[in-house]
């Protein structure tokens, strides 16, 4: 099939190295600084809180939103993280999850709202999301490292690309699924578009948006191992080490840690979604 040679590789490299990076490096530098201090702040806060107090708070939240069973599971899970000595790694992973979820939602929910309001925006947004979700994550790890260097910030960016689409999609879907007659009623009584959005569409879309938030968190966690390849600290790094040393035990310890965090975060966010229905 090679009737002609298409030098995509060379062109991309030339484009990125000779124009893109020199032109935008300062912009990326500042993004990097902001995100880095955000990640550091969250990590330091999580590590500053005594493990016992953190456990207590999390158990109470779990109890409130998920019931007794979840509270009990949370307690056991936290005891596990402490007793296999991966507390610090867990907090590192958690802070990357928190920051990348935050970034995903801050960008994703408004994009979801705009694409629900306007079919032209949706026509652009949808293929972009497809692209973000299907492109193998290793491919965008490289530019992330090029632009932001090794470490937590690149991990947040890569995680954002992977985890933001559900937030956009579910927000869009939730707003579009508000019954037509309810929207007509709101308009017929003289709502402005802002009142329609904030008093009717968004409140009714909350269950759907919360399902998106839940998915975003889950995808962030599943990026933890991959992100550790570009130097993100945390449970992913533990797993990565276990692979390079062929240490099955260490792999299980780190892997179970990710599972524990995943279950707790999943059930708590589902609880929030259900409470608002």
């Amino acid at each position: 099939m090679n009737y002609f040679y298409f030098p995509l590789e060379q062109w991309t490299n030339t484009f990125v190295n000779e124009w893109f990076l020199p032109t935008f490096s300062s912009a990326f530098e500042s993004i990097s600084v902001v995100l880095n201090s955000f990640v550091d702040f969250v990590t330091n806060t999580l590590l500053f809180i005594p493990a016992e107090l953190f456990t207590l708070i999390l158990v109470l939240i779990a109890w409130r939103l998920g019931g007794k069973g979840l509270a009990f599971f949370t307690l056991i899970g936290m005891l596990y993280l402490g007793s296999v000595d991966i507390w610090e790694e867990s907090m590192n992973t958690l802070s990357i999850v928190i920051v990348s979820t935050f970034v995903s939602l801050v960008i994703g929910i408004p994009v979801g709202i705009f694409s629900a309001m306007n079919n032209k925006i949706q026509a652009v947004v949808r293929p972009t999301l497809d692209f973000m979700q299907t492109l193998p994550s290793f491919v965008y790890l490289i530019p992330a490292v090029l632009l932001f260097g090794l470490g937590g910030v690149s991990a947040v960016i890569a995680t954002f690309i992977f985890a933001a689409p559900p937030a956009v999609r579910m927000t869009n879907l939730g707003i579009r699924h508000v019954p037509k007659e309810v929207i007509e009623a709101s308009k017929a009584f003289g709502s402005t578009s802002k009142q329609l959005l904030f008093k009717v569409q968004l409140p009714l879309a909350v269950p759907s948006i919360m399902a998106g938030v839940n998915q975003t968190i889950m995808l962030s966690l599943s990026m933890a191992v991959i992100a550790s390849m570009i130097g993100a600290p945390g449970l992913g790094a533990t797993v990565l080490t276990s692979i390079s040393r062929v240490n099955i035990g260490l792999g299980l310890v780190g892997g179970l840690g990710i599972v524990v965090l995943a279950i707790i975060l999943d059930r708590i966010t589902q609880g929030i979604g259900q409470n608002t229905k």
């Binding site: 019954p179 007659e181 309810v182 007509e184 009623a185 709101s186 308009k187 017929a188 009584f189 003289g190 709502s191 402005t192 009142q195 008093k199 009717v200 409140p203 009714l204």
Partner: protein, 401 residues
Amino acid sequence: MSKISVSQITKVFGQNPKQGLERLNQGYSKDEILADTGNTVGVNQASFNVEEGEIFVIMGLSGSGKSTLIRLVNRLIEPTSGQVYIDDEEITNMNKEDLIEARRQKLGMVFQNFGLFPHRTVIGNVAYGLEIQGVEKEEQIEKAKQSIVDVGLNGYENSYPSELSGGMQQRVGLARALANDTDILLMDEAFSALDPLIRKDMQDELLRLQKRLGKTVLFITHDLDEALKLGDRIAIMKDGQIVQVGSSEEILENPANDYVSNFVKDVDRSKVLDASQVMRRPEVLTTYKNGPRTAVRKMEEFGASSIFVVDRDERFQGLLTIDDAIRSHKEDIPMEDVLKQDIHKTTPDTPLNDLIGIAVETKYPIVVLDEDNKLLGIISRVSILSGLVLGKEHDEEVTEA
């Protein structure tokens, strides 16, 4: 000045509505335009006026464009051409802000599937219109509570719509429209989703509220019985056009074309016709100048075995049978004392429906009296039956067609 005035309003749905509009003006039909341009004509040059305090019903089958038409009035759907005026203010050329203000101040709306906000309580739903206008919280609650009482839902303020039955949900819908205290209520098939008994309740409720509050109501329905019951005037729609506007009697008695006459053919006339429309004037005997002898002679003359008796002011006295007349004459009893009094009496606006049962049981005709007891007419079994079958005499041809 009409409360609502709609002039030549037209809505063409599709990619290129202007093209569809041109063809409409050239006189092409709805089907031809759909075939040629792919445009759907929703409403075709509809014009009508609704007067203050009137219930104006737009009646048509599904697809006739009636729901589009009501949405053109408050511009939930933008018209392709034509004008709508509310209180002589043109709605159709208003900017966004003025339109929102007009919707808030002048136009309440009730929807077929209620359109309630599921995340708000009953009072939250009812207060919505006031809330978005920025009315003080206490005033919102006070007005909302008043409308909730008006529709008979007090005690349910803090329930959610999903906890209520269909009929109660539509009461919330009605209360929400009343709370804004607009002069006009737009009701889009408001009772169509309710089962027949609840629907009847709601119709009565609406008539009562309308009487008390004097709202101007534009009511959409596909149910002719409902239209005839509620409407002071009725517009019949077909294929996006208004084919006839008139009172229920006008429409029943003088259908504008075959479509309308076909439509009203099966109507339950007993609900529409009232006593005054089927009664006939009887031969009467006036007490002050006629004695029993004259009575007997009159009965012979008309071949009847009884006659109705009135006093000099035409007030109903009773029924005189031939036997009693002879007895009065022979035994010299005053005629007043032998009159039969156990005659069923009714008022001219009583629906025929209510008289059928009585007519079956009583052996004498029913008498129709006005508020001063004046004898207006009598209704025999025969006249009830012929009324049901034929309407009034002159639409015989229609019903046979």
